[in-house]
C-alpha cells in the first residue's frame, strides 16, 4: 500500500513536472535573450488554453491539433506585444511591471469575455489510464509529458542548427559581441519573445484534456514557471526541464503526504531557498 501510493505519487509528479517544464521553457528562452522576466507568460498560456477550448467546442477539433493554431496565434500576439509595448523599455524592473500590466489586462479581459467560470474539455477516448501493475498512468498527462520532451528537444535543435537560433544564443551569451557582428538585436528579441509566447500557448492547448480552463489559471502557472526557471538556472534549457520535474515531484509528494493545500507552501519555500542560496540554479545559468 505504501509503495503503491508512493510510486503513483512519483509517476503523477513526474508527468506534471513535464507540463511545468513545457510551460517554463518559453520563459527561460525570453529571459536568456533579453534578461527580462515576462509576467504575462501565464496569461499567454491561459489564452492558448482558450484557443483549444473554443476550437474544440466550436469545430470539435482535438486539442492536440489545436496546439498548432494555439502556437501561431500566441506567436503573433507575442510579436505584436513586443513590437508595440516591450520595445519601449529596456529596464528589467520596468518590463516586469509592464508585463504584469499586460497579464492583468489579459486575465480580466478573458474573464470579461468568457466569465471567470472554470471550463473543461471532455474527450472520453482520452480520459483513460494505462495500468502497469498497480501503477495508473493517465494517458493525456503522458502525452503532455512526451510533448514537453519533444518541445525541449525541438527548441534545442532549433537553437543549435538554424541561423536564427544561433543568433539567439549569441545574444544570450554576449549582447555586445552579438551586436558587433551585425546581429539585429531588436529582430531577434522579437522572434524569441514570440517563440516563447507561442510555445506556452501550445503547452496550454496540450494540457486542456486534463486541466480546467479559467482566466485565473495564468497567475497560478506563471508563479510555478518562475520557480521552475529559477530552480533550473535562468536561461538554461535542460536545467528548466529538470526544474520542472523537481517541482512536479515535490508538489505531488506534498499533495500525497501533507494536509490541505500545503504542497504549494513547499514550492514557494523551495523557490526562496534557491533564490537565496543558489541563484544560478541547479545546473547553472545566466547570472542576472
Amino acid at each position: 500500500m505504501f509503495f503503491q501510493m508512493l510510486s503513483n505519487a512519483l509517476v503523477s509528479g513526474l508527468l506534471m513536472g513535464g507540463v511545468y517544464a513545457s510551460v517554463a521553457i518559453g520563459l527561460t528562452l525570453i529571459f536568456g535573450v533579453m534578461n527580462i522576466i515576462n509576467f504575462a507568460h501565464g496569461s499567454f498560456m491561459m489564452l492558448g488554453m482558450y484557443v483549444a477550448y473554443w476550437l474544440f467546442t466550436g469545430l470539435g477539433l482535438n486539442p492536440y491539433i489545436s496546439l498548432v493554431p494555439s502556437f501561431l496565434i500566441l506567436f503573433f500576439l507575442g510579436a505584436v506585444i513586443h513590437k508595440f509595448i516591450i520595445i519601449h523599455s529596456s529596464d528589467a524592473q520596468n518590463i516586469l511591471l509592464i508585463t504584469l500590466g499586460i497579464a492583468l489586462f489579459l486575465e480580466n479581459f478573458a474573464a470579461f469575455l468568457w466569465t471567470p467560470d472554470y471550463r473543461s474539455i471532455e474527450i472520453p477516448t482520452l480520459a483513460k489510464s494505462l495500468f502497469i501493475g498497480y501503477l495508473a498512468i493517465s494517458i493525456p498527462r503522458l502525452i503532455a509529458f512526451i510533448f514537453a520532451i519533444l518541445l525541449t528537444i525541438g527548441l534545442y535543435i532549433f537553437l543549435k542548427t538554424t541561423t536564427t537560433g544561433k543568433s539567439i544564443r549569441a545574444i544570450s551569451d554576449n549582447i555586445e559581441g552579438a551586436r558587433s557582428v551585425g546581429i539585429n538585436i531588436k529582430k531577434i528579441s522579437l522572434i524569441s519573445f514570440a517563440i516563447g509566447a507561442g510555445c506556452v500557448g501550445a503547452a496550454g492547448a496540450v494540457i486542456t484534456p486534463f486541466y480546467s480552463i479559467s482566466p485565473s489559471v495564468g497567475l497560478v502557472f506563471v508563479i510555478i514557471a518562475f520557480v521552475v526557471v529559477v530552480l533550473g538556472g535562468m536561461g538554461n534549457f535542460w536545467g528548466t526541464f529538470l526544474g520542472g520535474l523537481i517541482v512536479g515531484l515535490g508538489e505531488s509528494l506534498g499533495a500525497t503526504y501533507l494536509p490541505g493545500s500545503l504542497q504549494q507552501f513547499f514550492i514557494y519555500f523551495v523557490f526562496i531557498l534557491i533564490l537565496l542560496f543558489r541563484p544560478q540554479g541547479i545546473l547553472g545559468g545566466k547570472r542576472a
Binding site: F112, P259, G260, S261, I272, L275
Partner: protein
C-alpha cells in the same frame, strides 16, 4: 524669469486639500464617504509601500504580506483574546516589522535586486496566503468575521462611517509627516542614493544593506497598521483579501501612477484610481475584477510614458 511651478506650492495645496477633505463628508452620502475612505486607505498603504519601493527603489510585489499580518494579528487578538484592536494594531505592526526585517535581510544580503527581489517578496506573500489557508487559528479559507459590538472606541468599531473617515484621514496626515521627515533627513538622501546607483552608494561608504533594511522595516510597520484599519472597517478578512497577489498590486499601483518617491504621489494616484475603479465596476459590472483590467492598461501606459507619474507631470506645468 523664474519658471512657474505648480508643484512649488504643494504645501499650500496640501493645506487646502486637507481643509477640503475635513469638511467634505458633511456634504456627502454614506456611499461617497465609503469611496473616499477606500481612496484614503490605499493612499495610506501606497505611501507605506513608497518608503521602500519609491524612495529606496526596491520594488515589492508582496506588500500583502505586511497588510495581512497587521489585519490578522489585530483581528485574532481581538476575537480570541478580547484585546483592543488599537493594541493589536501596534503589535501587528511590530510583528510585521520583524517579518519585514527578516525578508529584507535574507533577500538583500544575497543581493536580490530589481525583478528578483520583487518575485521573492511575491513568493513570501504566497507562502503566507497558503499558510493562512491551512492554519485553524486564521480560520482557513472561511476567514474571520469580526463580531459587531456597536459604536465603541476601544473595540475600533463605529456605526457611522464618518468616524472611520477621520481616522484614516489622520493616518494619511501621519504618513505625510513621516515621509516628509524621511525626505528631509539624511536617511532620505541615503535611500535615494541606493535607488540611483547602489554600487556608487556603497563606494561612498553608505551601508546599503543597513539602509535598505531600515526602509523595509518602516514600510512593513506602516503597511500593517493599514491592514488593521481595513479589517476593522470591513469586519471581514480572508487569506485572499489579505495576502493575495491582487492586494499587493492594489497597493503599489497608487504610488506608481502618482509618482514614485514623492510625498503625495500615492495620494494623487489613489485620488485618480479610486473613482476610476468604482466607475468601471459600475459601468461594466458583473465581474468584480473589472477594474484590474483598467489597472493593467494604466500600468503599461504609466511605465512607458509617465515614468515620474502624475507628480512628474505636475512639476512640468
Amino acid at each position: 524669469m523664474r519658471k512657474l511651478s505648480l508643484y512649488r506650492y504643494s504645501y499650500v495645496l496640501m493645506g487646502v486639500a486637507l481643509l477640503l477633505l475635513s469638511i467634505l463628508p458633511a456634504f456627502m452620502g454614506s456611499y461617497y464617504i465609503h469611496i473616499l475612505i477606500l481612496i484614503l486607505v490605499y493612499a495610506y498603504l501606497g505611501s507605506s509601500w513608497n518608503v521602500l519601493g519609491g524612495y529606496c527603489g526596491q520594488f515589492s510585489f508582496g506588500h500583502a504580506t505586511f497588510f495581512g499580518l497587521g489585519a490578522y494579528t489585530s483581528t485574532i487578538l481581538f476575537m480570541r483574546f478580547g484585546i483592543s484592536p488599537w493594541i493589536g494594531m501596534v503589535l501587528g505592526g511590530i510583528l510585521s516589522m520583524f517579518v519585514g526585517i527578516f525578508i529584507g535581510f535574507i533577500c538583500f544580503r544575497y543581493g536580490l535586486k530589481g525583478p528578483f527581489f520583487a518575485l521573492a517578496t511575491l513568493a513570501f506573500a504566497e507562502m503566507f496566503r497558503v499558510a493562512a489557508l491551512n492554519i485553524p487559528l486564521t480560520g482557513k479559507a472561511m476567514g474571520i468575521l469580526i463580531t459587531l459590538k456597536g459604536t465603541s472606541f476601544p473595540a475600533f468599531q463605529f456605526q457611522e462611517k464618518i468616524y472611520y473617515y477621520y481616522i484614516i484621514l489622520a493616518f494619511n496626515v501621519f504618513i505625510v509627516l513621516v515621509t516628509h521627515l524621511i525626505e528631509n533627513r539624511k536617511l532620505g538622501d541615503y535611500l535615494e542614493a541606493i535607488k540611483e546607483d547602489e554600487d556608487a552608494a556603497e563606494a561612498l561608504g553608505i551601508d546599503t544593506l543597513r539602509y535598505k533594511i531600515i526602509a523595509i522595516s518602516i514600510s512593513s510597520f506602516l503597511t500593517a497598521l493599514g491592514g488593521t484599519f481595513y479589517a476593522q472597517y470591513l469586519f471581514y478578512i480572508d487569506p485572499d483579501i489579505c495576502f493575495g497577489v491582487h492586494n499587493s498590486i492594489e497597493i503599489f499601483m497608487r504610488p506608481i501612477l502618482g509618482g514614485l518617491g514623492t510625498v503625495y504621489g500615492a495620494f494623487l494616484g489613489s485620488l485618480i484610481l479610486g473613482p476610476l475603479s468604482e466607475l468601471t465596476r459600475g459601468l461594466l459590472g458583473g465581474y468584480s475584477g473589472m477594474h484590474l483590467m483598467l489597472f493593467g492598461v494604466v500600468l503599461v501606459v504609466v511605465i512607458i510614458f509617465l515614468p515620474r507619474g502624475v507628480v512628474g507631470l505636475l512639476k512640468k506645468i
